[in-house]
Symmetry: C2
Subunit: 327 residues, 2 copies
């Protein structure tokens, strides 16, 4: 119901040619109360619409938020194959779910799925990923590398490097990677990466890499419980960024790294990854399904496994865990 | 077109109440030549229909082939969850492909997909799997174990044990397992297993296990190039078998082994697997993507990896290969 009213509201403004529209007039036209109109206008403001509200005249929309449509991304895209097929949606449950369907329908390598908003975006361990409208990059990429399944985690690590490089180029900020797939600015999470694999025993059939980047959110946009642990590029660099441009840079960086990886193997990528990794050489606690492990992070193996040396000097291999850094 | 005629032909016989129907009469009714009628009748005979052809009277169908419909399988099925959702089709491209769609649509654990015929069934390495109509079991099972992705190969091994046990119970034959997923009778292939994994970095989301069992084919049903390497249960035990019953036994055996595995881990299953494995302790050649390795098969690891000791005493881990046994 709400989105129906919202659509009517935007239609009315689209047809009003920059005129001011009074709250009562809007309420009559779309069939709701003046209070409801006011509430919708506030929500539009949060989504990046710029509004003017003038007494006795009414409301006017002076700027609409920038979008990440297929056209916005394609214009100026420098890649060979990444993002050459774009599936764009205004609002989705999750881009990963759509990617799964497109994989089933034989979508080619490099296909991306991008949305302005995810209603039930997910991160690792099925945790919620907050993906509000027009403010971030909610993206899934489809890859079809001819590799054995144990190599799949390497692609998560390569993606992390691509995201870091894209953020560096776009903002001059230098993010850090927390194993396996968190990207941090000032210790707060700015990006999450989720890799989904489809494979038989011998070969990867497809990989879907989901990337969520917080771009233009402001601190007050976050639910209170997320404020201490989440941030956005805009919060950290004090400016609004053009999301479509960041997507273009990200796709190009990823394509270069991925091509290098397929040609030269994981070693050069591993060096790059380690150069951005926050945890290497530090004492950390790794919380796994079976318990906690405390020790010094030594590095990663070629399989993307984290190596932790405990106080007795024994080196443990950690496949899946949440990492906490010692201050 | 052909299947349209076939359908008409079977309809005519269904409505004829055991009467004999002449070739000319059939040709007139379904709108084709008498030669075409004769060709169709021969094909029906190959598919397991029993026909009587009497001079001056015509044709009569005396027995139709047994089927593996949801009803045939459900009646008498002793399982808790395996096969409690059955998706049956007369003819499909491949049951794996349908399973992929059902996984996407959130089909529950234990769902099976079964067809009388696969038009493009596949085995490992995308090799063709010959799946002619009404003669074999062409089946995919959907599982959703809460396990990390590296455990997936164990499920292929467990499935092999379940198939061997089901064949033992049904026929008193004792098949052997050739690592990783071939089941042999007298050195010829009677079953293939194909495991497809969908996972994120931490957890298996679904596994689709495809099983192809040659049941009622006769030697002459096979293309010449397959005759030296493929066999069927019927060829080996000299009788026709009820496929639906074999499916029921297989599902029950699998469910018991799978439940044991989830409760007790892989160790008891590994012992069972090794007890049926033909290659353990013998000299073999393993052909991998990168080359060949000759040595003695020592066993498998908990990850389902094959261990081969070469002549210098070095033990190699083989993740994916074709195995050839030394005579």
């Amino acid at each position: 119901m709400q989105s129906e009213l919202r659509k009517k509201l935007l239609d009315v403004f689209s047809n009003s040619q920059d005129e001011y529209l009074s709250g009562q007039h809007l309420a009559d036209l779309i069939g709701c109360s003046r209070t409801a109109v006011w509430k919708h206008m506030e929500e539009l403001r949060k989504e990046g619409f710029e509004l003017e509200a003038v007494r006795r005249k009414g409301y006017r929309i002076t700027r609409t938020p920038e979008r990440v449509t297929a056209d916005e991304i394609s214009l100026g895209l420098m890649t060979e194959f990444m993002g050459r097929h774009i599936h764009y949606e205004e609002s989705v449950e999750s881009t990963q779910k759509i990617a799964q369907r497109l994989v089933y329908e034989e979508a080619p390598e490099g296909t991306i799925i991008i949305a302005e908003e995810q209603l039930s975006g997910r991160g690792r361990m099925d945790r919620k990923w907050y993906s509000p409208k027009y403010t971030g990059i909610w993206l899934s990429m489809i890859l079809r590398p001819n590799l054995p399944p144990p190599k799949a985690p390497q692609l998560t690590l390569i993606t992390a490097v691509a995201v870091v490089q894209a953020i560096e180029e776009m903002t001059n900020l230098t993010p850090q990677i927390k194993w396996p797939n968190d990207i941090l600015l000032n210790g707060k999470k700015v990006t999450g990466i989720l890799t989904e694999l489809q494979a038989d025993a011998d070969r990867i059939k497809s990989i879907i890499i989901g990337i969520g980047i917080n771009v233009n959110q402001q601190v007050e946009d976050y639910p209170e419980e997320l404020q201490p642990i989440a941030t956005s590029l805009s919060i950290e660099c004090n400016q609004q960024l053009k999301r479509a441009e960041l997507v273009q840079i990200l796709l190009l960086k990823f394509e270069k790294l991925y091509t290098l990886y397929l040609e030269k193997g994981f070693y050069p990528l591993k060096l790059l990854w380690e150069s951005y990794a926050i945890s290497i050489g530090r004492n950390i606690t790794a919380r796994t399904v079976t318990g906690s492990l405390y020790g010094k992070a030594m590095g990663i193996t070629d399989d993307g496994v984290l190596l932790i040396e405990d106080s007795a000097g024994k080196v443990h291999q950690v496949y899946s865990a949440d990492i906490e850094l010692e201050n």
